[in-house]
Subunit: 326 residues, 2 copies
DNA sequence: CAGGATTGGGAGAGCGCTCTCACGCCAATC
DNA sequence: GATTGGCGTGAGAGCGCTCTCCCAATCCTG
């Protein structure tokens, strides 16, 4: 149960600690026979490098943070698992840890100091409040950050997003191709980039659409659909800016005697699990969340490798998943 | 941008590094005036302790791991966010990091070595495969572990679970109180403790129930309900061992002309987000996931504090959430 | 074959922190 | 007034690792 140190490995292999270290780190130019001796010593002693010691000298934590909004705001967020899995895919093979931080009082400041004291090499920020000063502080300090989703106000920060506008346009074209001519949309919150872009992209395609506002939550989808039916009973096609809202809205249609998609075609956005638990299953705009998360991880690693490299943004193309609702 | 070290704080405060360290760690007996001087020096220099250096000597990583099944098996797991948030609540105030690891090739071995090399102080294992040797190895090595859910085969390991049997009995009593007399159940996988217990608990209450097997996934709920209706068309009450299965099963009932709950009452299990996205909303057995997760974290911390302390298990009581489906 | 260039390996200096230990100081005791 | 005890403080020894020297050995080149 005693710890094996590099010192001991070196002793067993009959080399110096420096050489043993070179072998461990796969470094250059070690004689083949010595390399073998060290490797044998490593496996015979069961040596594992002490990360803290390494970290102390390399000034790398080999850990990145994932800052998430808290449970309440996630509202059964369909994405969390996909995000984690995408990031993990990139980061694990490099032995880098993924530290999860759910937003709560003082979390972001916590993350900031973790970054400063070298406990974290970088962070990925998800669903950041536009008023949050932390992203700004981070980039000001030249610390590696990547945002999930375009920030509302332009800032020199790296982010990864899906082309929300194009996605909404996809939905608009779909509804038009279904020969719907009384088309409406239930929007996301207009103080987020995603909410704004999905509306703008849809209106570009269907300029005369009726607009009812929601905030991405299921509850707001229910309320919005009720309002919509009241003000516009002859609606025959709706683009709902999140699957979660659509999931709440469809039962409202049923209760009001509308068949989906016969009477009202519905197209959602996200292709989250809510798309499959809806009846009928949702036609929706898919974002490649897991791939986007992987890209965020890559962007972050690049920044860690090359500090103060210029901010870039990567845009993914959405696709339409046709199911039964529209 | 240069790092501030304890050395420097000490210099500024005019004390020795040892004394500065005592102040930082809130330790015993430092003269009030010196304490003040050090605190002033800390804030004026913006000092943050280097965790790696501390970790190197304390042999504590101040990080715990959360081992999760991979994305596919989570199947839009309703729990992930709650688990994370429960653990976070306990762990954050102590400055302990939560490292997320999704199961993939070699993940568990990875976790094991992270533990051994002191990169992680302990791990919480969620949804462990009964055949998985890792939990056994961990306890054999005397490393701190907590399981989410009772292990299938009894082993001397600390775990936190909900009283599954009692929960299923709750569901059984509910269906009986609704005067149903042709009662069935769709089970979870019988190679998991949860699957077994929910069936046993239900049968204890409704011994003559018709049993159809599922595996907790939505898809299996659909298939199981189809089978059930074929073999037992006069069924008027069903306990479905997971909300996700129930979510899939209810549309099957509708398609076959059954009203829920008028013709067939449905009770689920989990009180996950799937309970709310069902139509009608599910009556279900609630597990206090977030509280359970918090308790797991506490148990783990206790083990870290007192290694080789005896394994304990904590059981939470489930409750029935009555909604519209039964 | 001499001289320089190249290469592999070892010694050792830290990285920033904690913690033991010993010392100095002052109050309490005889 | 000398001795004891306690308490606060500082000196310094590591924790386990990486990495920069520097030296020895080998290689090439004219």
């Amino acid at each position: 149960m005693k710890r094996v140190t590099l010192e001991e490995v070196a002793r067993v292999a009959g080399v110096s600690r420096a050489t043993a270290s070179r072998v461990v780190n796969g470094a250059s130019s070690v004689d083949e026979s010595l390399r073998h001796a060290v490797q044998k010593a490593i496996s015979s002693t069961g040596y594992l490098p002490n990360i803290a010691a390494r970290s102390l000298v390399t000034r790398r934590a080999d850990a990145i943070g994932l800052l998430l909004p808290d449970e309440r705001r996630m509202d059964g967020d369909p994405h969390l698992a996909s995000v984690v899995s995408g990031v993990t895919r990139v980061v694990r093979p490099l032995g880098i840890h993924l530290v999860l931080m759910m937003t709560g009082p003082g979390t972001r400041e916590q993350a900031l100091s973790d970054l400063r004291c070298g406990r974290l090499d970088g962070v990925i920020l998800v669903h950041t409040d536009p008023a949050d000063p932390v992203p700004g502080q981070l980039i000001a300090a030249g610390l590696p950050v990547v945002l999930a989703g375009r920030p509302l106000r332009p800032m020199p920060i790296t982010y990864v997003d899906v082309n929300q506008t194009a996605g909404a346009a996809l939905a608009g074209r779909r509804l038009k191709s279904l020969q719907r001519n009384r088309i409406a949309t239930i929007t996301g919150p207009q103080d987020t980039a995603a909410g704004q872009d999905r509306l703008a992209g849809f209106l570009a395609e269907v300029p005369d659409a009726v607009v009812v506002h929601g905030d991405f939550t299921r509850q707001s989808g229910i309320a919005a659909m009720e309002r919509l039916l009241r003000c516009c009973p002859d609606v025959d096609g709706v683009f709902i800016a999140s699957d979660l809202m659509a999931n709440g809205a469809i039962p409202v249609l049923h209760r009001n005697g509308r068949k989906v998609p016969a009477d009202v075609a519905v197209v959602g956005f996200d292709d989250s699990s809510a798309a499959l638990t809806s009846e009928p299953e949702l036609t929706t705009v898919r974002q490649p969340i897991s791939d986007m998360a992987a890209e965020m991880a890559r962007q972050l690693l690049r920044q860690i490798e090359q500090p103060r490299s210029p901010a870039t943004s990567v845009m993914f193309e959405p696709s339409l998943v046709v199911r039964d609702s529209g």
